[in-house]
């Protein structure tokens, strides 16, 4: 039962994240939506897979995939955000404050 609930939650988060990647106005806010897909969706779906597999060596490997997504995806989004700020891409008009200059 737990696996169905977590699959459902993961699918919902994935759909909302994809819609956010389309709807948000500039690259930084889009990165927020992308990070949300990575954390919320991937955690929910992979926890469901671990529940299906039970305690075994295979589920340890699935946990390793979860760990890698967890620790490597923020590095990529951080590098992309800093690179686009240095490349000269401005934040959108509704941005309140930009202390990084």
């Amino acid at each position: 039962m737990i696996e169905y609930i977590s699959f459902l939650a993961g699918c919902t988060v994935m759909v909302l994240g994809a819609v956010g990647v389309i709807r948000f106005p500039d690259v930084y806010t889009r990165l927020h939506a992308a990070t949300k897909c990575d954390t919320g969706g991937a955690i929910s779906i992979l926890v469901g897979v671990v529940v299906i597999l039970g305690m075994s060596m295979t589920s340890l490997k699935v946990m390793l995939v979860l760990f890698l997504i967890f620790f490597l995806n923020p590095v990529a989004s951080h590098a992309l955000a800093r690179a686009s700020h240095r490349y000269g891409i401005k934040p959108c008009e509704i941005t309140v404050v930009d202390m990084y200059e």
């Binding site: 988060v13 909302l16 994240g17 819609v19 956010g20 709807r23 948000f24 500039d26 930084y28 806010t29 990165l31 927020h32 939506a33 990070t35 949300k36 954390t39 919320g40 955690i43 060596m57 295979t58 340890l60 490997k61 946990m63 390793l64 967890f70 620790f71 923020p74 590095v75 989004s77 951080h78 955000a81 800093r82 700020h85 934040p91 959108c92 509704i94 941005t95 309140v96 404050v97 930009d98 202390m99 990084y100």
Partner: protein, 201 residues
């Protein structure tokens, strides 16, 4: 004259900071402890990648990990703080502190996911880049803090700059609640700052 004195004072602070950093680096944990920690991390990774419990690959992996940990022990363990009892700290780290962090983190992620889902549907965002200060100094600790801030949906670390008291992080925040550095730090960092200071300096 007063400007000159101010410059000298700033310079003195910089030198003091550098000296303090070097003293901290010199006071890391002992070499055999570094080798042991590196060996444990590498061997757990080997066992997970192996996917079976046959004896010959396990022995081979132990040999290879011992050899590797003698060469690479300084990469991950350079910034660990010195403590009283090494083994009790290791056990506490694996069995108490990591579940504690996971527990804190789970609720933060769920709350932040719901928040960003609301932003996607209603589009009531007011984004901005704010600056927060932390007193953590070492590279490992700042990297971990920046990663955890980025993992929480709604905040995204842009850059890290070294200051006299520690480090300053520039964070893109999707819903800016306050402009003051201290209050923003309280909201964004949560308890992660204190958690990291137990092990890294």
């Amino acid at each position: 004259m007063s400007k000159m004195r101010f410059y000298l004072r700033e310079r003195l602070d910089t030198v003091k900071h550098q000296l303090e950093s070097q003293l901290q680096y010199g006071r890391g944990i002992k070499t055999w402890q570094k080798i042991l920690v590196t060996f444990l991390v590498l061997y757990v990774f080997w066992i997970i990648l192996l996917g079976s419990t046959a004896l010959p690959p396990l022995v081979l992996g132990a040999g290879i990990c011992t050899l590797l940990s003698f060469f690479t022990y300084d990469f991950f363990t350079k910034d660990i703080r010195v403590g009283e009892n090494f083994f009790s700290r290791l056990l506490m780290f694996v069995f108490v502190y990591i579940p504690e962090l996971a527990f804190i983190f789970l609720f933060r992620i769920i709350e932040a996911n719901v928040n960003v889902a609301r932003h996607v549907i209603l589009m009531d965002i007011n984004p901005g880049i704010v600056r927060i200060d932390t007193t953590l100094r070492s590279q490992t600790a700042v990297t971990a803090l920046a990663n955890i801030i980025t993992l929480t949906p709604g905040t995204l670390t842009l850059d890290v700059k070294e200051t006299l008291e520690g480090n300053a992080l520039y964070v893109h925040w999707i819903d800016v609640e306050t402009l003051s550095t201290e209050e923003a730090g309280e909201i964004i960092k949560g308890g992660v700052d204190e958690w990291l200071r137990r092990f890294f300096w």
